[in-house]
């Protein structure tokens, strides 16, 4: 049982990540020590190749550190098997991608219901209603029965956020979620993320957008795989 202080907390201790490339080894993360308390909207910033996405992948269990530990909500992520990770991630981490990555042959509603199906997290009878209420939350309920390709980029990203929230994960991570959107839509997306933190969720966003710094409670600046601030 996690204490209130450690609940949903993210702790990275001496996390290193290196990749073997034909030209030699490349160190993407260098001894990262980072603690993110729950309920914050945190930005990870940095130039291209600074290690932002790698850091995000460590937190989501998408990639494993070469050295060091990643503890999320009391669970040492790198120790989980690929299969346990999938289930754990489904229930604890909501992921939002830059290019939305909605499944093209499923409707928006079905896309949102899919995580509940995979993780068997809600009874079948309530999944549809929950998905609709999430679409309501992100203001695209009327688009529920449409296929992703018929929606605008902003609407697709809202749908992706609804999908990320499907299993009610305490942590949301988003890799440049507004990188493919106009500034007006981007603002609305950031507002949505900010509103989610009010309900206690931790939101970590990799972004280049400096115009939205007001939304962030914490900014982790990376350069050459190390935290600057």
């Amino acid at each position: 049982m996690n204490s209130p202080q450690t609940k949903n907390r993210i702790e990275l201790t001496k996390v290193c990540k290196s990749f073997a490339l034909p030209a030699g080894s490349f160190q993407a993360l260098k001894e990262i020590n980072l603690t993110i308390p729950s309920g914050q909207l945190v930005a990870i910033t940095g130039k291209s190749g600074s290690g932002k996405s790698t850091l995000l992948n460590m937190i989501a269990g998408i990639d494993k550190p070469t050295n060091g530990h990643v503890v999320v909500n009391g669970v040492q992520v790198e120790k989980l098997s690929e299969s346990s990770l999938a289930t754990w991630r489904g229930k604890n981490i909501g992921v939002v991608f830059q290019f939305f990555q909605l499944l093209p042959t499923l409707t928006i509603l079905e896309n949102v219901m899919l995580p509940m199906d995979f993780c068997n997290s809600y009874p079948k009878s309530v999944r549809r209603e929950r998905a609709l209420s999430l679409l309501e939350l992100v203001n695209i309920r009327e688009q529920a029965d449409k296929l992703p390709a018929t929606l605008s980029g902003g609407q697709q990203q809202r749908a992706a956020i609804a999908r990320a929230l499907a299993n009610d994960p305490p942590i949301l991570i988003a890799d440049e979620p507004t990188g493919n959107l106009d500034s007006q839509t981007a603002t609305s997306i950031f507002e949505l993320f900010a509103s989610l933190t009010k309900s206690g969720k931790t939101v970590i966003i990799v972004t280049h957008e400096k115009d939205f710094s007001a939304y962030f409670e914490n900014v982790v600046a990376l350069a050459d795989g190390a935290i600057l601030n």
Binding site: S83, A86, T87, L103, T105, K124, N167
Partner: protein, 799 residues
């Protein structure tokens, strides 16, 4: 229904052309299996039932003179004998148009109470009156007559007489008349006598009351009966014990059907490989989706289940289409086989295990074959899946030879790129090559075997340097007739031979053969050949041909050689006497039953009838069928004029037709299967190529952005398809040689008891090359067109 299942369903519906291709690929195999197994199960059952319904005699004992009814009754009373019946069969000739054909006459003792080798009466009079006969239904075609017509027939040295065809029967124990190129008739003894033959019932057919499926038991009782006949003063010529309970064509049909079964399973396996290739391609295309699904909580098992479910859905639709269609096809195939076997399909019910097996095979085989790409694809890590760009960046690094080869100075840049593109997705390339190579190999095998079959048939003319065989009623001193025949215009050569039925002496008192009542199937003959014969070109495969006129030496053909070795002494029966011969050689004859060749002079000495001949073999300068018709007529007229009684005449073209007729359906079905193989193979190439192009849409956009024209893109893509097709050609050709050798061996043994020689059908190779090249072109033309149609911006934005 769980949400994830919607994804499977929609993925299938989103590309109907692709989904239909998957369905058709499996359906073809399931259809093949259902048709062949459905047919096999019904034919095996019906062939046995038809044959057993004729109550085939356990044994037939041939004696030298007429058997009385009292004797038959006394034989019936022997314990262990359930039935006894006297019978006679006479080889006559019938005139059809201007030609004489063999006519096998069965002389029936009691038409009303026939007890063995029964036939089924169909129409006309059931019991033929004096001067009339019943006809087996398949013989009307040979006779070019119908019920109620008259037929001119001639028996031995009797004069030709007309006989009325008053009734029709179906005798399931006989091969179709057109296949044997002979007529079948059923007459009374009185009618036989009216045709000028004094012969009585010289055969006794018996039915054992127990163990009627045991050859040993039957032989034991047949010998008991033969002993009784012998003790009553009869000379027993031969005991005929055909394989118990087996239709004359049962072994042949079983082997043929087994070959078909193997082929139909191969089609299903090919179809499944195609499905595996396609599924693997779909997974590569959906690799990011797999990554996303894993990110939102799906584990590898759930992902694999999705794609297995896709296979099950595809298979289920394929089964729904193929199972009913295969039942219709099996029924149609059965009708053809029934004609071929001269049987009646009384119960066309296909046993439930057939559709059950179709369901199991149609689902399990595709699942098994696709399991590798599915399991591998579903176990990909999230990071790899999300980072995937559609191409393995390391694949070319591992194959430096590809890079080096493509750098040859005479190759253009486009050719270079095409060569490298071929090897980018190596696992898929291997699957596609495997699919095409297997399809091509089987296609070419079918064509090769068909050609080898035809070439082997031609050997009939190569080995037989005569065109007409005349079997005489009585042994004659043939010198003068041979001289007269030689003077006929167009006659190249004439030889006087001798022959008799024989068997391997097994220390039993009587000669036991495996001959069926039609006298052809299962027979074993001895042919007495003049040394230095010029009408036979034997293919001696071991030892030597006959050289010494008076030596007791024998050459056996492949159907009689068994496990004998050169130098062995073998005892062969001649007219009931067991004579020892030394084996000096083995031949391979095309289209002969079991034969033992001995010297004409040695045979004369053994039979104490030196210089006597019962067979004339006549060769013509012009060996064409048309010319042979006319010459045969002249020969027969001369023999009639010289009062030489002809038992039967066998033109070599007739023998050729009879053998070709036996296996025609096998060759045709093999070719039909080859077409199915070609279809599956081409579908495979089209599927792979279109997927190869689709996943490189973005790359094509990049090339367009840096200046590639649509023509260049077209050339690049089409060349890639052609390269894959050409690679598969080499593999399939090599594979086809091995497969052709195997199939030729099987089919050759079935038909000729010797393997078919390996023959490469250039037509087959040319057709397959054309299929591959045209298929590659079509398979790449459309995706190339589609790739060129989308704008550079769209292509670059393609995920």
């Amino acid at each position: 229904m769980p949400t994830r299942f919607y994804k499977v369903l929609r993925d299938l519906l989103s590309d109907p052309a692709k989904s239909w291709m998957l369905i058709v690929s499996i359906a073809l195999g399931v259809f093949g299996i259902g048709t062949i197994l459905g047919s096999y199960s019904v034919i095996q059952r019906e062939m046995k039932d038809n044959y057993m319904n004729t109550v085939p005699a356990s044994a037939t004992i041939e004696v030298d003179s007429a058997i009385s009814q009292e004797l038959v009754d006394s034989i019936k009373s022997i314990q262990g004998i359930a039935e006894a019946e006297r019978h006679a069969s006479v080889v006559a000739r019938m005139k059809v148009g201007e030609k004489w054909y063999p006519l096998l006459l069965f002389v029936i003792d009691d038409f009303e109470k026939k007890r063995t080798n029964k036939y089924e009466w169909i129409s006309g009079v059931p019991y033929p009156a004096l001067g009339s006969m019943l006809v087996e239904r398949t013989a009307y075609g040979m006779m070019q007559a119908k019920e109620g017509d008259e037929l001119l027939i001639k028996i031995a040295n009797g004069i030709p007489q007309k006989i009325k065809l008053t009734g029709t029967v179906h005798d399931a124990g006989l091969a179709p008349a057109w296949q044997e190129q002979s007529g079948y008739g059923y007459i009374s003894l009185a009618s036989l006598h009216s045709l000028g033959v004094t012969q009585g019932f010289d055969q006794l057919r018996i039915l054992v009351s127990e163990h009627n499926d045991s050859k040993t038991h039957i032989q034991e009782y047949a010998q008991k009966v033969a002993n009784v006949l012998s003790s009553k003063g009869y000379e027993v010529h031969e005991i005929q014990v055909p394989p118990p309970g087996k239709h004359p064509h049962q072994g042949q049909m079983t082997t043929v059907m087994r070959i078909f079964i193997v082929f139909s399973f191969l089609i299903l396996i090919l179809g499944s490989i195609l499905v595996a290739t396609s599924i693997s391609t779909i997974m590569v295309k959906q690799i990011r989706q797999i990554g996303v699904m894993k990110t939102i909580g799906a584990n590898s098992t759930q992902i694999a289940t999705l794609y297995f479910l896709m296979i099950v859905m595809v298979s289920t639709i394929a089964l729904l289409m193929a199972v009913p269609l295969s039942r219709l096809a099996a029924s149609s195939f059965n009708n053809q086989l029934a004609v071929l076997l001269n049987i009646e399909i009384r119960n066309s019910f296909i046993p439930n295990w057939v559709p059950l097996l179709q369901v199991v095979a149609g689902i399990l085989i595709p699942i098994l074959i696709t399991s590798l790409p599915i399991v591998r694809g579903s176990r990909i890590s999230v990071k790899k899946a999300l980072d995937n760009t559609g191409v393995n960046p390391n694949s070319l690094n591992k194959n430096q030879w590809v890079i080096k080869f493509s750098q040859l100075s005479f190759l253009s840049e486009v050719t270079r790129l095409s060569i490298r593109n071929v090897f980018r997705q190596q696992a898929r390339l291997l699957m596609t090559l495997g699919l095409l190579a297997a399809g091509g190999a089987m296609f070419m095998t079918a064509m090769n075997v068909a050609q080898a079959w035809n070439e082997n048939l031609k050997l009939i003319y190569v080995q037989r340097l005569y065109d007409l065989e005349v079997r005489l009623n009585e042994p004659i001193d043939a010198d003068s007739i041979v001289a007269k025949l030689k003077k006929l215009n167009g006659v190249a050569t004439v030889e006087a031979w001798n022959y008799t039925s024989t068997s391997f002496s097994k220390n039993s008192k009587f000669e036991i053969t495996r001959t069926y009542p039609d006298k052809g199937h299962g027979s074993f003959s001895m042919q007495a050949v003049p040394i230095g014969t010029s009408v036979l070109n034997p293919s001696v495969v071991e030892g030597t041909w006959l050289q010494s006129p008076m030596a007791r030496e024998v050459v056996l053909n492949q159907s009689s050689r068994g496990s004998w070795q050169i130098g062995d002494s073998v005892k062969l029966t001649i007219d009931g006497n067991s004579i020892a011969w030394k084996i000096i050689g083995f031949t391979v004859d095309v289209g002969s039953p079991a034969l033992a060749y001995v010297s004409f002079d040695a045979f004369g000495e053994v039979t104490k009838r030196p210089k006597k001949s019962k067979m004339l073999r006549i060769g013509y300068f012009d060996r064409s069928k048309q010319s042979a018709y006319a010459k045969n007529k002249e020969v027969e007229s001369l023999l009639e004029k010289e009062k030489v009684a002809i038992n039967t005449t066998i033109p070599v073209w007739l023998l050729h037709n009879a053998i070709a007729g036996h296996m025609k359906i096998l060759i045709n079905t093999l070719l039909a299967m080859a077409v199915l193989m070609a279809l599956v193979g081409t579908l495979g190439l089209m599927s792979t190529m279109s997927m190869n192009i689709l996943e490189r849409t973005r790359e094509i956009g990049t090339m367009r952005a840096i200046g590639a024209t649509p023509a260049t893109i077209n050339k690049l893509i089409i060349l890639e398809g052609m390269l894959i097709g050409s690679l598969s050609l080499i593999i399939s050709f090599v594979l086809s040689l091995a497969l052709s050798s195997y199939m030729g061996n099987k089919i050759g043994h079935l038909a000729f008891r010797t393997p078919l020689s390996l023959s490469i059908s250039l037509t087959g190779v040319a057709i397959w090359i054309a299929i591959i090249l045209i298929g590659s072109y079509i398979a790449t033309w459309y995706p190339a067109k589609r790739a060129n149609r989308i704008t550079t911006r769209e292509a670059l934005a393609h995920e």
